[in-house]
C-alpha cells in the first residue's frame, strides 16, 4: 500500500456528482500533478483531502493508517477531523493570508495555538499529580513544576521561532518578516502562504492552482519555491494549469475530467503518449493557448 492511498472517493453537491470514484496512490516524497479542464473536480478533490468537504463515499489511508472511511462516518470521525487535517497542508489559489498579522505571525499563529493547547494539557497533568502528595511536599514540587513549565514554554517558543525563520529563508522572504500581507506582491504573498502551510509539517502539501492569481512575472518565483520543496523530499499534490511545470516537476500526473480520472501515469506517459481522446484534446487546447 502506498504512502497515501485514496479509494473510490465520491462527492455530490445536491444533484451534481462532482467526484465519481477517485482512486490513486502516492509514494512518500513524490509529487502528483493534477491537470484537467475547468469544473472537472480538481479543487473538490483537494478540499476533500483537507476535509473542508466530507466525501460521501470512499476511504483514505495515510502511511498504512486508515484516516477516513465514509462508511464509518459517525460523530467520532467528525470530531477528530481537526487533528486529521494536520496531516495535510493546503495552499489556496487566493492565498488567504490573515491581513492583520505580519508575515512572521501568519506563519507561527497555528503552531502557537497548538503549542498553547499542549502546554495547557501538560500543566493540567502535572497539577493533577500534585494531588497525591502531602502538603509539605506539594509546595516544593509546585516550585519545581513551575520551572519545568517555564522551560517547556520557552522551548516551544524558541522552536517555533527557529522553524519560522528557516521557512522564511526557504521561501526567500527573510527580509519581509515583519511586513503585513498588503505590503507584499502576489508572488510574495503566495510564498508566505506556502511557508504557513509548511509550518505545521504536513505529511502532504496540496496546492490549488498556486499561480493562477499571479501575473506571469510573479509566477516564476512561486514555481521555483515549489520545485525547491520537491528537492527536499516533500510529498505534494499540485493542481495546476502550467503544463511545462507539471511535466518537469511531477512524478505522477492525473488528468481529471468530469469527476473521474481520465488518465494517470508518469509525465512522459500522460503528455507524450496520452491514451484517451479527451486527454489529447485537452493537451492540444492548452498548447494552443500558450502560443
Amino acid at each position: 500500500m502506498a504512502f497515501l492511498e485514496i479509494k473510490n472517493y465520491r462527492k455530490n453537491f445536491g444533484e451534481n456528482e462532482v467526484l465519481k470514484g477517485i482512486s490513486f496512490g502516492l509514494e512518500k516524497g513524490q509529487v502528483l500533478a493534477v491537470i484537467g479542464s475547468s469544473g472537472g473536480g480538481k479543487t473538490t478533490l483537494l478540499r476533500c483531502l483537507n476535509f473542508l468537504e466530507i466525501p460521501d463515499a470512499g476511504e483514505l489511508y495515510l502511511n498504512g493508517e486508515k484516516l477516513f472511511d465514509a462508511a464509518e462516518l459517525g460523530k467520532k470521525a467528525v470530531k477528530d477531523i481537526r487533528k486529521k487535517r494536520l496531516h495535510f497542508g493546503l495552499v489556496f489559489q487566493s492565498f488567504n493570508l490573515f491581513p492583520q498579522y505580519t508575515v512572521f505571525q501568519n506563519i507561527t499563529l497555528a503552531q502557537n495555538l497548538l503549542d498553547k493547547e499542549n502546554f495547557k494539557n501538560q500543566k493540567k497533568e502535572l497539577r493533577a499529580s500534585l494531588k497525591e502528595c502531602g502538603p509539605d511536599e506539594r509546595k516544593e514540587k509546585k516550585e519545581e513544576q513551575k520551572r519545568v513549565l517555564q522551560e517547556i514554554r520557552s522551548t516551544q517558543k524558541a522552536r517555533a521561532e527557529e522553524k519560522a525563520n528557516s521557512l522564511l529563508d526557504r521561501v526567500g522572504l527573510t527580509e519581509k518578516r515583519n511586513a503585513y500581507p498588503y505590503e507584499l506582491s502576489g508572488g510574495q504573498q503566495q510564498r508566505v502562504a506556502i511557508a504557513r502551510a509548511l509550518a505545521l509539517n504536513p505529511d502532504i502539501l496540496c496546492f490549488d492552482e498556486p499561480t493562477s492569481a499571479l501575473d506571469p512575472e510573479l509566477t516564476g518565483e512561486v514555481l521555483k519555491v515549489i520545485k525547491g520543496l520537491k528537492s527536499s523530499d516533500s510529498t505534494m499534490i499540485v493542481v495546476t494549469h502550467e503544463m511545462e511545470f507539471a511535466r518537469n516537476v511531477a512524478d505522477l500526473v492525473i488528468f481529471m475530467a468530469d469527476g473521474v480520472i481520465e488518465e494517470m501515469g508518469t509525465p512522459a506517459e500522460v503528455f507524450d503518449f496520452p491514451k484517451s481522446d479527451k486527454t489529447r484534446a485537452f493537451l492540444q487546447k492548452s498548447l494552443e493557448q500558450t502560443l
Partner: protein, 216 residues
C-alpha cells in the same frame, strides 16, 4: 444664576452620559449575539430574530420606551420600579438590533477563504473567530458603528418620554421655571451635545487610525 443653570444642566447630562455608556456596554455584545441569531442555520431561530430586528427597526424608539416601561405593569407582571432601568433596557434592545445589522454586514463581508485557511491550519471554530475574523470585522464595522454611536448620543434625549430627567428635560424645566433668558438653557444643552460629539469624533478617528495598520 448662570453657574447654577450650567450646574443643573451638567447634572442632567450626567444622566445622559450614564444612559449612553450603559447602552453601549450592553448593546455592543448583545448586538453580536443577535447578529449570530439572524445568521443561524436553524430556520425558526433565524426567522424569529429577523422579525424582531425588523419590528424594532421599524418603530420609533419613543414607542418602544413607552411599551417597555408601561407594558409589563399593565399585563399584570411586576412593573418597573426604576424608569432609568427601563430606559436602559429599551435602548439596549433597540441598539442591539441596529448594531446586529452592522455586525452582520461586517461578518458577511469576510471571505470564506479566511475561515477555510483557519480550518486547514487545524484551528477550532472559536479560535478562527477570535484570532482571525474578529479584528477584521471590527475594522470593517468601525465607520458605520461610529455613525450609530453618534445617533445614540442624540437619541438619549428620548428617555424623557418616560420622565428620565436627562439634559433636555432639565433644560425645558429650567426655561419654564425662570422667566429670564428662557431660551438659553436649551442652547447650552446643545453645547453639551456638541462637545461630547466632538470628543467621540476624535476618539473614533484615533481608533480608526490605530486599526489602519492592516488592509482588508
Amino acid at each position: 444664576m448662570f453657574i447654577e443653570i450650567i450646574g443643573e444642566l451638567a447634572l442632567g447630562f450626567l444622566t445622559t452620559l450614564e444612559l449612553f455608556a450603559l447602552t453601549l456596554v450592553f448593546a455592543l455584545p448583545l448586538g453580536l449575539l443577535v447578529a449570530f441569531c439572524t445568521m443561524s442555520r436553524f430556520y425558526p431561530l433565524r426567522m424569529l430574530f429577523k422579525l424582531i430586528v425588523w419590528v424594532v427597526r421599524g418603530t420609533p424608539l419613543m414607542l418602544q420606551l413607552l411599551i417597555i416601561f408601561y407594558g409589563p405593569g399593565l399585563l399584570g407582571l411586576p412593573a418597573f420600579s426604576n424608569r432609568f432601568l427601563a430606559a436602559v433596557i429599551a435602548f439596549v434592545i433597540n441598539y442591539a438590533c441596529y448594531f446586529s445589522e452592522i455586525y452582520r454586514g461586517g461578518i458577511q463581508s469576510i471571505s470564506k477563504g479566511q475561515y477555510e485557511a483557519g480550518q486547514v491550519l487545524g484551528m477550532t471554530r472559536s479560535q478562527i473567530f477570535m484570532r482571525v475574523v474578529l479584528l477584521q470585522v471590527i475594522r470593517r464595522v468601525l465607520a458605520p458603528m461610529s455613525n450609530e454611536v453618534m445617533t445614540l448620543v442624540k437619541d438619549t434625549s428620548l428617555a424623557n418620554t418616560i420622565s428620565v430627567i436627562e439634559i433636555i428635560r432639565v433644560a425645558t424645566t429650567i426655561s419654564s421655571t425662570y422667566a429670564v433668558n428662557i431660551i438659553f438653557p436649551i442652547l447650552y444643552a446643545g453645547v453639551f451635545y456638541l462637545a461630547f460629539i466632538g470628543i467621540l469624533t476624535l476618539l473614533f478617528g484615533w481608533l480608526e487610525k490605530k486599526l489602519n495598520y492592516f488592509r482588508v
